[in-house]
């Protein structure tokens, strides 16, 4: 998961990377004390494109800072309102660069990306130079130097970038970061490099060896609404969409495949919900139903599971339990297939449910029911 800019900068500072001496501003706090003016007042949100959405305001004095804070606290970026702001000193920049370390399948591991022109338009410019590393201990300064030779002509700057890149790579590996991106990385008038912005994406699954990641996951749960929280706590992957046919599925690919088919048959999926992760997926359906039953935009629930290691007899029994517990009258359409699917009809018969033999017929029925609702 992505952490906030000020958190990313604190991590970078702790590993010897230069970052501006910023001040955190909380809502309703008294006039924040900053080290001097002007400052860049920056909304701390996870969604991208903040710069282009007015999420960074220059303030030349205390009054302007206060006004900027008021404005940013009342603005939404993506679907996210900032809970905190960062006021960084406005530094005299000589040049804006782009530097990141990220995970890359083709590189079989980590990759360094560098562009001599950083900033908010990085995605529309020339693609960054790419140094594939693989396993972290394979980083070689001289290999990165060879990659940068034609891209960055200023050799003193180049050497600083190489040194910094190794710091980022080692940090990404040590702290289980998927991505550490510095954009812009600024060269100040005195030649020093400083991270004006920072984006860090943690590897969720390293939570057992990194207390920061654990805390971020807990923060994510805290921010979720109560119904979603129970489902997230089960390890489910849930993304709300704007349709009315909710999907409880297993496996990311299968879930997307079913979503696409709902659309193809004229319906609109209400969510992506992959309920397969976690060891207790059969019991885990309970919070999924609770969440979707409580969601007023959901008209129909389609359960579509094609299991290998997940056994369909257990899923069918779980469905029986869940149907017995539910208070909602929203219709549920079932399509189970996979290991022990032959045992499903007998179980379904005991509570009058029907198991569709194909995804097509299940989707068609769900679409029909949604229209009728």
């Amino acid at each position: 998961m992505m952490i906030l800019e000020h958190e990313a900068k604190a991590l970078l500072r702790s590993v010897g990377v230069a970052v501006p001496k910023g001040t955190l501003i909380k809502p309703g706090a008294r006039a924040p004390r900053v080290l001097g003016y002007p400052v860049a007042v920056k909304a701390q949100v996870r969604s991208g494109g903040r710069g282009k959405q007015g999420g960074v305001i220059r303030a030349n004095n205390a009054a302007a800072l206060k006004a900027a804070a008021r404005k940013l606290f009342s603005t939404s970026f993506g679907d996210e309102k900032p809970e905190v702001l960062l006021a960084d000193p406005w530094l005299p920049i000589d040049r804006e660069l782009y530097l990141s370390v990220t995970i890359d399948g083709a590189a079989e591991g980590y990759v360094v990306l560098y562009s001599p022109q950083g900033g908010i338009d990085i995605e529309s410019g020339v693609p960054p130079a790419r140094y594939p590393i693989g396993a972290p201990w394979k980083f070689r300064a001289h290999e990165l130097r060879a990659v940068l030779e034609t891209v960055e002509k200023d050799f003193q700057l180049r050497e600083r970038v190489i040194f910094l890149a190794q710091r980022l790579l080692e940090t990404a590996a040590a702290r289980d970061c998927h991505t550490i991106e510095i954009n812009p990385l600024a060269r100040l008038k005195d030649g020093e490099l400083i991270a004006l912005d920072a984006k860090i994406v943690y590897d969720d699954w390293a939570h057992y060896r990194n207390a920061d990641i654990l805390a971020q996951r807990e923060g994510e749960l805290r921010r979720a609404d109560a119904l979603q929280r129970a489902s997230l706590a089960m390890g489910h992957m849930y993304v709300k969409l704007d349709g009315d046919i909710a999907l409880i599925s297993g496996g990311a690919g299968m879930t997307m495949g079913a979503m696409d088919m709902i659309k193809a048959y004229g319906g609109k999926p209400a969510c992506f919900l992959d309920a397969s992760p976690g060891p207790t997926s059969t019991r885990g359906y309970k919070p999924a139903f609770a969440m979707l039953d409580a969601d007023p935009t959901v008209k129909v629930i389609l359960v579509s599971v094609f299991g290998g290691g997940t056994h369909m007899n257990r899923v069918a029994r779980s469905m029986k339990e869940n149907m017995a517990m539910r208070k909602s009258k929203k219709p549920v359409v079932f399509r189970l297939d996979g290991t022990y699917v032959d045992q499903v009809p007998a179980i379904f018969d005991t509570f009058g449910a029907k198991n569709h033999a194909s995804l097509e017929t299940a989707v068609k029925e769900a679409v029909k029911l949604a229209r009728a609702a």
């Binding site: 693989g134 396993a135 590897d203 699954w205 969409l241 992506f272 094609f306 299991g307 290691g309």
Partner: protein, 292 residues
């Protein structure tokens, strides 16, 4: 023929005394997989369903000639178990676990490379060569022997698709789940290269997703003059940009990641692109016909 796996693989199960390990010995052994040994530190000397249990992969390989490993240990331990199997001499290691830190996969891949071995997974259903052997929990009835090589980023989707092919009379040489993580033990490009060399595979079905760069490799392969015909289904048409759809790699981050861009690129390079799941059999037939 098939790729990577058939009855000649001598399979070692890491974590054989756990629930998954035990089930695998029965289920996979019943399918035809040659399961020869298990490892469970502290439980060496016992057996699981007749399969001898050893203290270490080295001891297991020495005693049984195991050359292939199936890893069933909790995610934080997969790295250690997989590398142990690789360094004991296993040339194919399958790890189905999800929830694995990507750094661990990177380290396993590096160990595999250093030892001339191959990892399949993680976060993958495994691999099956229908009628011969399977390494994973895939529902066997979905698969049958035939001329189609199948590569999938997603487990359930590979069952769903293979079942459709099977019901339509289109069998598979091997179905390999390359997994949904950003770093894979075996990439689409590597799986394609293997199918390319397999004489029994006449056409290839690729089951992909939004996000990641695997699909670029598929297009690149399809563009080769000597390529076998490729059909492909890309799911995630209805996924909103910027959201991770379950798989760590399934995220539309930029234009090239989107469903539209991927299907366009694939079609441009001669891939038979399925419009959705219902179109799988038709495009598989097109690919097979093109191979004739």
């Amino acid at each position: 023929m098939s790729i990577l796996l058939d009855q000649s693989n001598r399979v070692l199960v890491m974590g054989v005394t756990g629930n998954y390990g035990k089930f695998f010995v029965t289920d996979s052994g019943g399918y035809g997989t040659t399961v020869v040994a298990g490892v469970s530190p502290g439980r060496g000397g016992s057996d699981v369903d007749g399969v001898p249990v050893f203290e270490s992969a080295a001891a297991a390989c020495m005693a049984t000639g195991a050359d292939t490993a199936m890893v069933f240990v909790p995610p934080p331990l997969v790295r250690a178990a997989a590398i142990e199997a690789i360094e004991a001499g296993c040339k194919l290691v399958v790890a189905t676990a999800d929830e694995m830190p990507v750094r661990d996969t990177i380290e396993i891949r590096a160990a595999a490379k250093a030892n001339g071995a191959r990892l399949v997974g993680p976060n993958s259903p495994g691999i099956i060569s229908p009628g011969k052997a399977k390494m994973g929990f895939m529902p066997s009835f979905c698969f049958t022997r035939g001329p189609m090589g199948v590569i999938s980023r997603s487990g359930s989707l590979s069952y769903e698709s293979s079942k459709r092919l099977t019901l339509a009379g289109i069998g598979q040489t091997t179905v390999i789940g390359i997994g949904g993580d950003p770093v894979k033990g075996t990439t689409a490009a590597e799986a394609l290269a293997l199918f390319h060399l397999d004489p029994e595979t006449t056409a290839i079905m690729y089951l992909g997703e939004i996000g990641g760069s695997e699909e670029a490799a598929v297009a690149e392969y399809a563009a080769r003059k000597d390529a076998k015909p490729v059909a492909a289904l890309i799911v995630g048409k209805t996924a909103p940009p910027g959201k991770k759809m379950g798989h760590a790699a399934a995220l539309v981050g930029n234009k090239a990641d989107s469903h539209a861009a991927k299907t366009k690129m694939l079609a441009k390079n001669g891939v038979y692109v399925c419009k959705d799941l219902t179109d799988i059999v038709a495009q598989a037939r097109n690919a097979l016909n093109a191979a004739k």
